[in-house]
Every structure is written in structure tokens, then in C-alpha cells.
């Protein structure tokens, strides 16, 4: 099956070049001395210095991190509950509406989510700011958490939970001691996904934020609207570096775990024999 073919090698090479070259160029040009971003004028870390002296960016970054932390944490709790209700809840009144509402934000255009939430906040007389952005982000990212968690919940062996209940655990104990450890990897990746989505969101935040709560994407967007800027290149490089380290570490960790699991299984088989 794994015939070496020039066609496959070419499409992989071109494909990955297409995916990675633009980001690589961004990283390289963030170290450019010149203010003109298309002319190379020698290596410099000048723009990183400018970036860290720019109070506005630092403030926006701090606000964004707080919003992302709170919204992803609440979204993880709510999304896990929603997934549990859908996979384990059996039949209950309004189930169809519930599952529709849980998954709809996945396909809802961001402009509509943002618009509708702003209309709600204004209708309630709430001042827009960090609180409203956090509520908005929680609502759209809990759908992603639910998807990730429910796929894990629906594949694991239910008899483990039943055994715990039979042995006298309360439903909450069974969840905490049996279910939660098993679905933990999915809950963690759900949280990370929600966190990333919140960090990254421009459209919903533009609608639901107010004075004093400008998030980083809004700041970046208004800066790049006027054209390419070396400071934004520096900022992008930092973000790309963080994501790369995170994803590579996570995938190495899962790989190591898979190897360990395979080894344990093999030892288990030997033990039986």
C-alpha cells in the first residue's frame, strides 16, 4: 500500500510549503530592522522592544487573557454538563431543543452570534465590557467543549460507571471517581480549545465589548487594517511560538502515553500467559 510515489511526495511538499511559508515569512520579517516590512534591512529585535513598551498592546493582552481564562473555564463546566446530559441523560423534555442549542453555535456565523448577544445585553441595559465579552465567549465556546467531551463520553465503557454505582458509590462519587478521570483528557482539550477560540475571536468581541475592554484581536485588527506593521509581526511571532511549543509538547505527550499503554498491555498479556 505504501508505494513511494513522486506525486504524493510533491503534493505533501507543496501543501506544507503553502501552509507554513506565509507564517515563516512573518516570523523572519519580525526580525527586520526596517519599518518598511517588505524591504530587508538587517537583523534586529527592535520591534519586540517596541511591542513590550506599547502599553495599549499590553493592556489588551492582559484583558484578553483574563476573558479567555474565565470564559473557557465556565464553558468547560457548562459544556461538560451539556455533553453529560446529552449522552447519559436519556430522554427528557425539551431534549431536541437542547441538543439543537448546544450544537448550533458551531455553524452559526460569528457576525450573527455577536449581533444577537449585543442586542440582548443592550435590551437588558447591561454596560458592555469585560463581563459581556466573557459571557459571549462562554456561550459560543461551550459548544466546542460539548463536542469534544461527548465524543469521549459516548465511546467509553458504561459498565464501569454502573459497577461503581453497584458498589455503593453515589452518582456524584461515580462521576468524580470513575467518569471524570476517564474523560479528563477530553475535558482538558476542550478547555484548551475554548481558551484558544476566545484568545482568537475578533468578530464576537467587536460586537460585545465596550470602552476599556478592547481585546488583543480588536487591537491587532485595527492596526493591520492600515497595512502591515512590524510590531504586529513581532506579536504574531510570539503567538506562533507559544502555539507551536504547546501543540508539539501535547502531541509528544500523547505519543509517549500511547507507547506506555501499548507496553503495559503487552506485559499484561505476558502476565496472563
Amino acid at each position: 500500500m505504501n508505494r513511494f510515489s513522486w506525486f504524493n511526495v510533491t503534493s505533501l511538499t507543496l501543501g506544507f510549503a503553502f501552509l507554513y511559508l506565509p507564517m515563516l515569512i512573518l516570523v523572519i520579517y519580525s526580525f527586520n530592522e526596517s519599518k518598511l516590512v517588505t524591504v530587508w534591512a538587517g537583523f534586529s529585535t527592535r520591534w519586540y522592544g517596541e511591542l513590550f513598551r506599547n502599553e495599549e498592546f499590553l493592556d489588551a493582552a492582559w484583558i484578553t487573557l483574563q476573558v479567555a481564562f474565565y470564559s473557557s473555564t465556565i464553558a468547560t463546566v457548562l459544556g461538560t454538563m451539556a455533553a453529560y446530559a446529552l449522552v447519559r441523560g436519556g430522554r427528557f423534555r425539551g431534549r431536541t431543543l437542547f441538543s439543537g442549542m448546544v450544537y448550533a453555535p458551531l455553524v452559526m456565523p460569528e457576525v450573527i452570534t455577536g449581533l444577537s448577544l449585543l442586542l440582548l445585553f443592550i435590551g437588558l441595559g447591561m454596560a458592555t465590557g469585560m463581563l459581556t465579552v466573557t459571557l459571549a465567549h462562554t456561550t459560543f465556546s461551550m459548544a466546542y467543549v460539548s463536542v469534544v467531551v461527548s465524543s469521549r463520553l459516548s465511546t467509553f465503557d458504561r459498565s464501569l460507571e454502573e459497577a461503581a454505582l453497584d458498589l455503593g458509590a453515589s452518582p456524584f462519587e461515580a462521576f468524580r471517581l470513575v467518569t471524570l478521570p476517564i474523560i479528563a483528557p477530553a475535558v482538558i482539550s476542550g478547555w484548551l480549545l475554548a481558551f484558544t477560540l476566545s484568545l482568537d475571536d475578533l468578530v464576537i468581541a467587536s460586537f460585545t465589548t465596550g470602552p476599556g475592554a478592547t481585546t488583543l484581536p480588536i487591537k491587532v485588527f485595527s492596526a493591520v487594517r492600515l497595512g502591515v506593521s512590524p510590531e504586529i509581526n513581532a506579536l504574531s511571532t510570539i503567538l506562533i511560538a507559544i502555539v507551536t511549543v504547546g501543540v508539539v509538547t501535547a502531541s509528544l505527550a500523547t505519543k509517549r502515553q500511547a507507547i506506555r499503554q501499548a507496553r503495559e498491555e503487552k506485559m499484561g498479556e505476558r502476565g496472563v500467559a
Partner: protein
Amino acid sequence: MRKALVIAVPYLWLLALFLVPFLMVLKISLSDVALSIPPYTPQLDLTGGLAAIGEFFSQLDLENFVFLTSDDLYIKAYASSLTIAVISTFLTLLIGYPIAYAMARAAPEWRPTLLMLIILPFWTSFLIRVYAWMGILSNTGLLNQFLLWLGVISEPLEILNTNIAVYIGVVYTYLPFMILPIYATLERMDGSLLEAAEDLGCSRLSAFWLVTLPLSKTGIVAGCFLVFIPTLGEFVIPSLLGGSQTLMIGKVLFEEFLNNRDWPVASAVAVILLLILIIPIILFQRNEQRARELDQ
């Protein structure tokens, strides 16, 4: 009791922050613009009793929707969003399929790494990935510099601020969404089917056409919808890469609401966008259902 709580908390949250806001959009789309805060009329006053509620409903009308059909701008924006979404979905498929195919045919020990390399850009900021192209596609950008240096062109091509830049942006940012479902179906495919086809005298190309392609259909359909649906309401890509003549409904909606403050019309634009999206969403779910049934 606890089970009820587990259901009730997310349920109430979604009712309050998803369903109610959506109903408000629907309601405001039927209202009129007014110079007040909030800038529309009528407003529901529950303290006025049934008579006030009746009065409220009698003031709602389809005026904004009539206005949308009479104004060229909106019809053009919907049409051009659809065109851009269709063309860029097709381009993404054309570029994504060979990559997914090559990944599925790669040695098994390579596949997790390749998969990680496809997923990595997905975790990187969307805004930054779109922004990366601004420096490449501009008149003095790297692509033009490169082509001028090669001598292919004698003066810079105008790419940034055109629809071509929007296509590039969509293909670039949504490529992983196309590759992943296609890769998933191709990877599961039974290799002996291809060997059988070739043993029976099929050329490699016709074996691909007659065996591989039909078997990867669910992946192709899923990938296409995953690209098409978000592209239709896209805002960031047309704003940063498109020009003034690039009309996309997400951009029109954003500007109508935040700049012109015409909330009733913006709400009507949103309602129609959702109505257009319902068809592909239903088709997508049907495709997923079929894929699940085939799995079992």
C-alpha cells in the same frame, strides 16, 4: 435531582444567551428604525398588559425584508458571498484532496506527525494567518518581488484588495477543515480493494477514479460543507484581503450594524443569511448521519 441540575444549568444558560438573543434578532428585523436608545421601535412593554402586547405585535412588519429585496447592494452581497464561497470551496477541495491522499498513503509511522502539522495552523490565530498574506500579496510584497525577479511579469500584479486575495485567504485558512475529513475516510479505506481493481485490469488512474474517489465521498462532502458554511458569513478575510468591490454579507452586516447603526436592517440581513445557511447545514448533518451508519 442532581441529574435535573446537570441538565438545567446549561439548558437555562443556552436559553438565555442563545435562544432569547436570536428571538430578539428576529423581532428587531420586523421593527422600524427610531431615534432612541435602543434605536428601534416598537419596544415590548410587559407592564402594559395584554393590550400593550397586542399593540406591539401589530406594529411588526416585513418592511425591512422588502427593503432588502429592493436594494441592489444586499442582493449583490448575498450573490457574491455565495459565489465566493462556492469557488473557494472548490479550490480548497482541489488543493486539499491530493494532500489528504498523500497523507493517507504515507508510511504509518509518519502519519501522526503529518496530522499534527495539519492541525498546528488550526491552533494558530486565524487573524494572524490572514494577516500573513497581506505582506505577501501587496504591490510591493514578496510575491510580486519574486515574480519580478524571475522576469515573469514586468510590473507588479494587483492581487491584494481583489477577490483573488480573498480566495487565497479562504483556501489557506480553511484547508485543514477540508483535509481532515477526507484523510479520515481515505485512511480507513481497505487497500485490498485497490489491489483487486488493479488485478482485474484497471489502470492506477481508473482505479482511483472508480474505487478511491467514490469511497471518499463522505469525506469530500463533509470537508466541502465545513469550508462552505463558515466562508459564507466570513468577515475577517474580505475585510483584510478583499477590496472595496469585494462584497460579502458578513462584512455588510458588520458595517451596517456597527457603523450605520441601522439595527432593524442589520437584523433582517442576519435572518436571511441564516435562512440561506439552513439548507447546507441540513445537508451536512444528513451526510454525517450517513457516514455514521456506514461505520456501523
